[in-house]
């Protein structure tokens, strides 16, 4: 009986007893969740537009952050280092299209997947070679990101300003992306390719252009994620483990759903923090590494098609 109480009753009692603390836990989860969402989003975009399961998504986050910080370390001011990093991400997208996707077009999916593993190791090696392997500090201040904190309820609820900024920037990026995909000619073409690449080809959309574009967008998203994550910890290749958090998010949200990636990321982020805080002690901590998968699997039991599994339209 005792054990059942500690698992099923006590945690909820704790939540109700200190709702502000509970709110704090949710906020922390939300902030991490945003980063999971962004990583999953970059992944989903590439998967939808080119059918490639991009193993390198997590490393792209580190590579982007490392490039930015590394350039700054070499004496380039932040306001120049940032656009250069964006250019580097473009060069990466361009090279991946030319050297990986184009030569391997029409090959089985697994070959393309392996090729992205190759890209992963290339980025690790290349990044270390140029900027060195030791952990670095994100140049938060130089990027004009705030670093104080705001408190509510007599200092009981503490929100870091950087977290608030991260949420704001992520929201802005999503609005931008939605407008781009919904309103611009090339955005519509990108969705057309995701729907039916043969038909897109037939109306004159160049798949190569779209692939470069979608890898570039994912690169930008990776850069945003890298800056935000780097501001909370160091910038090092250890960061890429967050990519493994993208997998449960994708299981939950579906590999082809943009909304799924966003909502899935938030659910995993928040679920994880709540689980860790209220149940973590029961299993001796460190449940963060597998809890995300648990949450995803439990969800799948009830919704096998995933959260938003894109509706498959049956033809009449």
């Amino acid at each position: 009986m005792e054990i059942l109480t500690t698992i099923f009753i006590q945690p909820f009692f704790d939540m109700a007893a200190d709702p502000i603390l509970f709110l704090q836990v949710i906020w922390e989860g939300f902030v991490t969740g945003i980063l999971y969402s962004l990583i999953a989003l970059g992944f989903v975009l590439i998967f939808k537009a080119s059918g490639v399961f991009n193993f390198a998504q997590g490393i792209m986050v580190v590579f982007a952050a490392l490039t930015l910080v590394g350039l700054h370390e070499n004496g380039i001011p932040a306001y120049i280092a940032l656009p250069i990093t964006i250019l580097v991400m473009y060069a990466l997208a361009f090279s991946v299209e030319r050297l990986v996707l184009r030569p391997l077009v029409n090959q089985p999916d697994i070959i393309l997947f392996m090729a992205t593993i190759g890209v992963t190791f290339f980025l690790i090696g290349f990044g270390e070679f140029i900027f060195g392997g030791e952990p670095k500090m994100m140049i938060t201040e130089e990027l004009l990101l705030p670093y104080g904190s705001i408190t509510f309820f007599d200092d009981m609820l503490i929100l870091q300003e950087i977290d608030i900024a991260a949420s704001g920037i992520a929201a802005l990026a999503l609005i931008f992306l939605a407008l781009f995909l919904g309103k611009t000619k090339i955005g519509i073409a990108l969705r057309a390719v995701a729907d039916d690449n043969q038909a897109a080809l037939s109306v004159g959309v160049s798949l190569n252009t779209i692939w470069v574009l979608v890898w570039f967008i994912s690169g930008i998203i990776a850069l945003i994620t890298g800056i935000m994550w780097g501001a909370k910890s160091d910038v090092s290749f250890a960061l890429s483990i967050i990519a493994f958090k993208a997998l449960p998010v994708l299981i939950l949200g579906g590999f082809t759903s943009v909304q799924g990636a966003i909502v899935g990321g938030l659910i995993i982020g928040i679920g994880e923090k709540i689980g860790e805080f209220y149940w973590g002690d029961l299993v001796g901590g460190s449940i963060e590494s597998w809890l995300a998968y648990m949450i995803a699997l439990v969800f799948l039991l009830f919704r096998p098609q995933g959260l938003f599994g894109e509706k498959i339209i049956e033809r009449v």
Binding site: R191, A192, A199, S202, V203, G204, S206, I313
Partner: protein
Amino acid sequence: MLSVNNIEVIYDHVILVLKGVSLDVPKGSVVAILGANGAGKTTTLKAISNLLQAERGDVTKGSIDFDGTQVHDLSPNELVKRGCIQVMEGRHVFEHLTVEENLLTGAYTRKEGRAAISEDLEKTYSYFPRLKERRTSQAGYTSGGEQQMLTIGRALMSKPKMILLDEPSMGLAPQLVEEIFEIVKDLNQREGVSFLLAEQNTNIALRYADYGYVLENGRVVMDGEGAELRENEDVKEFYLGMGGAGRKSFRDGKNYRRRKRWL
């Protein structure tokens, strides 16, 4: 406008599908490629639009000339820009895009401003009033007939000189097929778009086509004016199902001799 000279097409480096096909589409005409399933109609159209490469198909002999240029080294994108666009068989609409977004993708290669594009959008709607009613619906939820109209309207948005239309009648009720062919005729006469269409439905295709080619096993076995072909005894027998003794099997000895003569 278009001339295909003795082309040979091979899939996957080994499967020989077209064995010397030649045909001509004069400017402003409607030309039909007829033939049973598997005859090579789609392959011929894709060889022209260069969509073949995406299917591991290759034109290994012969040449294709569209509007004065060899198409062999052009990408589908460049061909659409030059005015040659294919409407693929099986109604390939972008299911999760709205009807209007689908039409806009047709204008992807055009460089004119928004004004010109929206003018053409209205013109397209004037040919397909049904699409206007459904402009905000997701294309995947429209009917088969509407989807076929949408793919033709989408092609029209590219301002084509020529549309390669693959099996527009496939899986549609006869009335709808008639409606679609009427629109094809309209587009041909009023917009001056040339058409090369592939059809198994010989009857309707020959009523609308100026000229027809009969394809069998990757070879042109007969060609002639639309009206002439419709009166041809062999066509009547094999493709219009009007032979005296009913439709005969291809293995029939008499058929075999006849087909020999066509070669």
